[in-house]
Amino acid sequence: MRRGFLPPMILLLVILLFIMLLPLLLAKIFPQFEWLLKAYFSIIVFSFVRRILGGGIMTYIVSGILIYIFVFQLFWLFTPAYMLFLIVGLGLSGIIVFGLPGRGMGRRSGVARQ
């Protein structure tokens, strides 16, 4: 393995894990936040299904099943997955990879090492 590869990757994993698990932590501390997240995820799932199936009875049935499975039964799995999707989908992964780990690590993160 390349020298100096492991510590930044561990740091990157720790940062990603922190961002992924932060909503779960907040939901554990504040129960209202959990219900807020569940409402938000329900809207996300419903709009995803409606975009594909259009407005109709099937949309309500399928989105109901998906909301029950992903939002209520698998909340602890869906929330980190959605946060990871947000990080990657909005392009925040570039900031984390090149910016956060420190000046010495990234080429884009500042002055090059002498």
Binding site: L53, I69, F85, V88, S93, V97, F98, R107, R113
Partner: protein, 134 residues
């Protein structure tokens, strides 16, 4: 109540197997959810290509059966999972890590300089667009 009935009611295997069965239940639930999502993607794909109608519905059902329940299901679901990873942008993260090598440090320009996955794919798209003109 005799000893055997008490032991049978305790059922020690339950205490051992319950966490395992719980995990298996969760995995089955995840698989069910993903199968529904994949079915939605199939519906979107077929409707986008062929519009609506009864034949399209039959096509959706056939494709859904082949891709989710037949012997070929593991191949198709794996391919679909990789496809989902790509369209959600995980490839950009992998390309950032593999091409730009942020752990290498040093600010060297010899390996392509400041290149991220996004810039690389944009450059690739521009090159292809130029090639298409000729």
């Amino acid at each position: 109540m005799d000893l055997f009935t008490i032991l049978a009611s305790l059922n020690p295997l339950d205490y051992i197997l319950k966490p395992v069965t719980n995990i298996m239940d969760t995995i089955n639930l995840v698989i069910l959810g993903f199968k529904i999502v994949i079915l939605l993607f199939i519906v979107q794909f077929v409707r986008g290509r062929f519009g609506g109608g009864p034949i399209v519905t039959i096509l959706i059902l056939v494709l859904g059966y082949v891709m989710l329940f037949s012997n070929l299901a593991p191949i198709f679901t794996t391919a679909m999972f990789i496809y989902l990873f790509i369209i959600f942008g995980f490839s950009m993260l992998v390309m950032d890590l593999v091409i730009a090598k942020p752990w290498a440090g040093g600010g060297g320009e010899e390996e392509g300089g400041h290149t991220t996955g996004k810039e690389y794919s944009e450059r690739l798209a521009k090159t292809r667009a130029v090639q298409r003109r000729f």
